[in-house]
Symmetry: C2
Subunit: 315 residues, 2 copies
């Protein structure tokens, strides 16, 4: 096996690429634009050119490259076939074959959220664990499940779609997916804001969040900053958040019994306090045998994707 | 690899043993009592003797045996270590080493519910699938999760404990596990009876179930028999059952995105009608990407354990 590998994180605007050694050290890291014109037909040739140029620049021979891993924003099956990645203009593409053909190197593709989980397991918040769950709490809630060191892709590439686990029977508003009461409606950045706005409306309590709301500046960050300052209303919101996410994690534990839950995405910038609220309610809902799971923050930030993609090809 | 393998299903009263070829054909099948005295110290020697006797009787040489798989009623880690199987009087035992030492053959142990899932995948309701979930709806609700053809054991052997996924926020009664609102409280045989008794109490509707209740003969079977006869109250109970189990399955699909859910255990004797009720509510709750999962009945009955145990050793 080669001494090097490349990890590619294909996003809707930019492609992040990392050159790694097989121990998980980043040797180089750069970005190229994602050219979505012509149904995204330029994307893979652009990535291939960027990798071949880098290899030439650094005098890395093909035999020294173990392969190229790539995380894609859409469902990817175990053969590397993407079925419609709307963001990129793609219909059905076999990435392993197409990019592999361009590079003449082994290529392995995975869904970006699952790949990020692999990255956090390899070098981030889940380091040393082989059974873990990454929950990415951003605009939505994404997830990646690792069982025995491997990503759970699922039968149609929808493994780890934890944001749409049903968690509340009495939700009047629809989720982006059309259902009602999805985890994402409460545990995402926008979900926390929704919880906050509802609480402010239903309560007469004084709170620093009232001013934030009037300035249009209420966010997951303002809520958890207020919690840290002891704001009583903000604490009630954090309890609700913890209850929903803890309940969702307990359901996940009833399936895969992970060693650790790793929290990433924008909301996770609130820090360790998030783990406290989630773990309190997780313990309430979970089955005895899964009670000892740990809660940690993701540590790789936006680089989780390139780490995980590189790891994908080393498996 | 040998031409034969043995599958052992270790229960609290009897040990079932099967002799298989590597294609999944049962060549012989028999039972011995489970001797729990002396902290269960006779159990593994009894099993070893039964297997060695059978091999001698059939002139099967050790080299021709691929190995012996065994399903155990308790959490088993990936090294074959059982941590307290209360039913058997066991504390901590490494089954792979202990039984392997007695037999001088490769031995692989797993949790009985997970092993049964492997059996249904190999030769039963999930045949031909590599991503499946077995839900055993008996006195309680047990489960086994198969991802990419392998059992999900979990980090502490609690993988697939789906019966204790929290599914109802407003449940006054406690589950056997101490929590409130577990799937098992609604989808087990006793759960269906609970739903029926509550419904009979809350409603004035006429129903064949009223007489069954007075005779103390209300059961999951009487409920679903009444559904087949068009009893309106029984149909309402079946809708509730389908709602709870469909919601639980949708949560599981948000984690592992299986191709098929296989229903086993006593409640599954109600037949295909069960799949209709569950699939209706599954579709309501599940995320788009997992919508195409199938629902099938288990076909191996009490033999799922020996099939799965035999398969365990062929992996």
């Amino acid at each position: 096996m080669g001494k090097y590998c490349f990890g590619v994180d294909l996003g809707g605007t930019t492609v992040k690429i990392g050159l790694f050694d097989t121990e998980g050290n980043v040797l180089d890291k750069w970005e190229i634009p994602t050219r979505k014109e012509e149904n995204g037909s330029r994307i893979l040739p652009d990535i291939a050119a960027a990798i071949l140029d880098k290899a030439a620049e650094r005098n890395i021979a093909k035999e020294d490259v173990a392969g190229v891993g790539i995380g894609v924003p859409g469902p990817v099956d175990d053969n590397g076939v993407v079925h419609r990645a709307v963001n990129l203009g793609w219909d059905v593409i076999n990435i392993n074959e197409t990019l592999g053909g361009l590079l003449q190197m082994p290529v392995k593709a995975g869904n970006d959220a699952n790949v990020a989980a692999l990255g956090e397991m390899w070098c981030g918040g889940g380091k040393g664990c082989t059974n873990m769950v990454l929950a990415t709490l951003g605009t939505g809630v994404g997830g990646g499940i690792i069982v025995n060191g491997k990503m759970v892709t699922g039968s149609t590439g929808a493994g780890g779609e934890i944001g749409h686990i049903h968690i509340e029977d009495n939700e009047p508003d629809a989720c982006g997916c059309g259902n009602h009461g999805c985890l994402e409606q409460y545990a995402s950045a926008t979900g926390v804001v929704r919880l906050a706005e509802r609480k402010l409306e239903a309560s007469d309590k004084d709170s620093v969040l009232r001013a934030a709301k009037e300035n249009g500046k209420i966010s997951a960050k303002t809520v958890f900053d207020a919690v840290k300052e002891g704001d009583a209303l903000a604490c009630e919101i954090a309890e609700q958040f913890g209850d929903y996410l803890g309940k969702g994690f307990a359901a996940i534990a009833g399936v895969v019994n992970p060693e650790v839950f790793v929290l990433g995405g924008g909301v996770s910038k609130a820090g360790e306090i998030l783990c406290e609220y989630v773990s309190k309610y997780y313990t309430k809902y979970v089955f005895q045998g899964s009670r000892n799971a740990q809660f940690k923050l993701a540590t790789l930030g936006n680089d989780a994707g390139i780490y995980g993609a590189a790891k994908l090809v080393l498996e």
